[in-house]
Symmetry: C2
Subunit: 167 residues, 2 copies
DNA sequence: TGCAATTGGGATTAATAGGTCTTAATTACT
DNA sequence: AGTAATTAAGACCTATTAATCCCAATTGCA
């Protein structure tokens, strides 16, 4: 079972990170994204449509079409994506499944869960796609450097490090 | 979609709390538990069997049978139940779904998620069923007191506060 | 204008989780 | 021993999510 986010939502977050790493913001083909992240093409297609409808992506049809972030990565938060795909159940549901649990009627772990949720909310609200993608750049550069030192890159010219191989 | 725990696991946690509130530790009928918590009888049946196989419950067949906690509530942690029903995916899976993500190969939110997970682990490891059930007793007593003050209890003698109505 | 390259969107299928039903096995009591 | 009460276990059904497929709509370019 997925955890915290639905599978579609995980895909959406991965794809958004992928787009954020493209500095020039020109549209990218769905095919390229799905191939790079090993996400089934048609599944990602629907998820991207969904993100586009929610105003997070722009999509262009036809030749030279593709998907791009609608805003600068620094202006997109993970919570924007989670909200668009999974709604707000994550933020409102009782972790033990008690239907009437809430701030004014806490279940026995409500306060502990609220603390944990604060931590999750911090992750979703206080990091934008730009920061996260820079984090990735740093990491990938580091790996590339190490690779050159340790491997015979001449004989493995196609060994490329990208978002998927890196995590 | 359930969140963090599977539905069965939520049921298991609720049922365990229910049993923990029974001080005398005599077996309780499945029917009573499922009715009280509004959990489908046969669904809960399987989950309880599962907990029994994992050594967390004892089950007695036949007349005067039923389920009881196998240890004192103070010696059962939420994580015991979660592990028995949902396994350890919650503790090992990458929150963004990256297959190779881990401590030595973090995805861009790995550290943030680790922090949030610590909070969750605290909730699951550091509170035993006894504490949680006492927490509930306090709350239910308080509600009962208020109820007596505010409602005409003579005309509503069956208005009972229990685990389910309380959360 | 016609063609090729794309996304859009609906229909269908597959997989998984959740729920129902039936019967067997076990136990306690008379 | 017989009977009623209860859990055990498996078969089966249903709902939701995930994945696949097909064709329509749009766009850019020759």
């Amino acid at each position: 079972m997925p955890l915290l986010f639905s599978k579609s939502c995980e895909y959406a977050l991965q794809a958004a990170l992928f787009l954020a790493r493209h500095r020039d913001r020109s549209p990218i083909l769905l095919r390229e994204i799905s191939d790079s992240l090993y996400i089934p093409y048609h599944v990602l297609s629907k998820t991207m449509q969904n993100l586009a409808k929610n105003g997070l992506l722009i999509s262009n049809k036809g030749m030279n079409g593709g998907f791009a972030l609608s805003r600068h990565p620094s202006e997109i938060l993970l919570k924007d994506i989670v909200h668009a795909i999974d709604g707000d159940e994550l933020f409102t549901r009782c972790v033990l499944g008690f239907p009437k649990c809430g701030d004014r009627n806490p279940c026995p772990v409500h306060n502990q869960w609220t603390k944990a949720k604060d931590s999750i909310l911090e992750m979703l609200y206080e990091r934008n796609l730009d920061e996260l993608s820079q984090n990735l750049d740093t990491k990938i550069n580091l790996i590339e450097t190490l690779k050159e030192r340790c491997c015979d890159t001449k004989s493995n010219p196609n060994l490329r490090i990208d978002l998927h191989t890196c995590c």
